[in-house]
């Protein structure tokens, strides 16, 4: 018997909307399934969310497994993992992709542990390829290459799960591209009846406060980002000033976030946001892979660093070797003059 090669995508939904990341994963899932000659299956959980099944189909799904139940109204680890785990055990998909959102990062490891599957977090690329297991010289065809920066983002690792199914991976929003919605696409919807157990309701959500995001890094046309080379909050102010002059957003590398110069929601990179602005200015950012993975697709990159050998210069279109405290004021001044 040949194993099925279905590509599953967890369809995250909030307040009646399919999460952007799930649409992006459906796009990637479509590409993988086409390579494998298999189908894309979306798993959609919620309450009164059947209308979203068509959105998933229009974005690439062939089949949507729909678990519509009051206990699934809002995300909770145990009821959601019960539904997913039961289905995975029953149908053993080949690949299972989940968005690396707070809910996805909570859910994916729980499912992987329950079904004894390998899971790779925060992949920046997914491909299909072969793998030769050296210990018994066995060739595994068409595995999922789970590609991610590792070790603080200083190297790129390709991970495979030769023996276990599904091959599971999480991906951050913005890394993959969604397909344009095709309202002509058709697919099937299969209703699933959850079989909860008493212990699945050990946790209740008492309240949930959602802050609308105040920054929109992903869609920003211009981003000015600061890194570990920014020596003080005063110097970071220059970055904010430059961003505001350019009508852009403020980004940051992990080093700047860890140093407390700015909030984590500004972090660009593998574990932050992936961006593709028209202009990206990297100020005092050394350029670890983890950061570059999130910004190297930018249209134009200006890098400012006092170290002429900083890795960030390798991806920059414009290289300025110099002190931030001197270069940033010059940029601000030049812009003020030209745009007044």
């Amino acid at each position: 018997m040949t194993e099925n090669r279905d590509v599953w995508v967890f369809i995250e939904q909030n307040e009646g909307q399919v999460a952007e990341i799930s649409l992006e994963l459906l796009g990637k899932g479509r590409e993988l399934a086409d390579t494998l000659g298999s189908q894309v299956v979306g798993l959609l959980c919620g309450q009164q969310v059947s209308g979203l099944a068509q959105t998933a189909i229009h974005s690439g799904a062939d089949l949507v497994l729909l678990a519509d139940h009051p206990e699934l109204a809002q995300y909770r680890t145990l009821p959601y993992s019960r539904v997913a785990t039961d289905l995975v055990c029953e149908r053993r998909p080949y690949i299972f992709l989940i968005g690396a959102t707070p809910a996805g990062r909570d859910l994916a490891p729980r499912i992987a542990s329950a079904v004894q599957a390998g899971l790779t977090a925060d992949c920046t690329d997914l491909q299909i390829g072969d793998y030769l297991l050296r210990k018994d010289n066995r060739l595994y065809k068409d595995l999922l290459y789970q590609i991610r920066p590792a070790f603080g983002g200083n190297l790129i690792a390709t991970i495979v799960n030769p023996e276990t199914r599904p091959q599971m991976a999480t991906v951050r929003e913005g890394v993959m591209r969604r397909l344009p919605a095709d309202t002509g696409r058709t697919g099937r919807v299969e209703h699933i009846t959850p079989h909860f157990q008493a212990g699945d309701f050990a946790l209740q959500v008492l309240s949930r406060q959602v802050r609308p995001p105040t920054i929109h890094l992903k869609d920003a046309a211009v981003i000015v980002a600061g890194g570990g080379g920014v020596s003080s909050p005063q110097e970071f102010k220059l970055i904010e000033e430059l961003a505001s002059l350019l009508g852009g957003e403020v980004g940051a590398s992990r080093a700047a976030v860890d140093a407390g110069l700015i909030g984590r929601e500004h972090q660009v990179g593998q574990t932050g946001v992936t961006v593709r602005p028209r202009l990206y200015i990297a100020a005092g950012i050394s350029g670890a892979v983890q950061h570059r993975a999130g910004m190297d697709q930018s249209n134009k990159i200006i890098a400012i660093n006092s170290d002429p050998n900083a890795a960030i210069f390798q991806v920059a279109h414009y290289k300025i070797v110099g002190d931030l405290s001197e270069v940033l004021p010059l940029l601000i001044q030049a812009l003020r003059e030209k745009t007044k």
């Binding site: 680890t77 145990l78 993992s81 959102t101 990062r105 909570d106 994916a108 490891p109 729980r110 992987a112 542990s113 329950a114 390998g118 899971l119 790779t120 977090a121 925060d122 793998y131 290459y145 070790f151 603080g152 200083n154 190297l155 790129i156 390709t158 991970i159 495979v160 799960n161 023996e163 212990g199 050990a202 946790l203 209740q204 949930r208 406060q209 959602v210 350019l246 860890d258 929601e265 593998q270 670890a288 134009k300 200006i302 170290d307 050998n309 890795a311 210069f313 390798q314 991806v315 920059a316 279109h317 414009y318 290289k319 300025i320 270069v327 010059l330 940029l331 030049a334 812009l335 030209k338």
Partner: protein, 297 residues
Amino acid sequence: MPYHSIVLVKQVPDTRSITGEVMTKEGTMNRSALPAIFNPEDLNALEMALQVKEQHGGTVTVLSMGPLQAAEVLRQSLYRGADRVILLSDRKFAGADTQATSYTLKCAINKIGAFDLVFCGRQAIDGDTAQVGPQVAEKLGVPQITYAEAILRLEGGEIVVQRALEHGTEVVQCRLPCLLTVVGSANQPRPPSARRRIAYKLAAVPAETLARLEQWSEFESAAALESHLAEHGLQITQWSAADLDADPAFLGLAGSPTQVYKVNYVVLEATESKEIPPTAEGIQALIEELMKEYIVG
């Protein structure tokens, strides 16, 4: 009522301090040049557990899996107030991915016995996966509360926790026992206590004890030194695979479903770049060029 907590901690290379000295010219990494540190969010987890003990009574047991050098984070835990520390160290544990790691930790927690709360950091800075916490919870069969920022209430067999999510917060109520993964914004971890540092400076796992024997001429034999340490509560418990009720097929590399196919040291392909002098004239010319291309303005 008193609560018994277990804290999972990890010693990690300080990937935040990767500098030119760590990356060689060939693009490979000199790992020994990286300092080994207490994973930052694990310190937040320990702090939360210590606060529970201070407010409600109970115990704090700290568990770490790693090489013998990881005994250092256990000493650091003792300096801060842990009651008991255990090192899981065995070649059989090596090469573990998150699945094998969480299985090993689960076996050790089962050996420790009854607990009310398990705390761990949200994620470790060397892998950033945030998977081990939820996987330990699943294997223990207890609920998980990820991104825990504050314990709002702990009473009887129930806990109320505030979670820090990307775009907001959530308050959840959960029955015990459960597992919390703690975020860096949860608290300010206490520094080591000077008094406890003096008291526990000599705490060591057996292998370290042997290595120290040469330095301490007052002890005639390893046995004498060990009995001195045991008498003063300075022996760090060390468990190997044989000490756990564990299926060897689920340990270490053999028990890891994920395999590293290849690792590419990053050799950058240079983008065609233009060097701009850091002078007023240079910058003005740059802005003009960007305006001409409609990148700016």
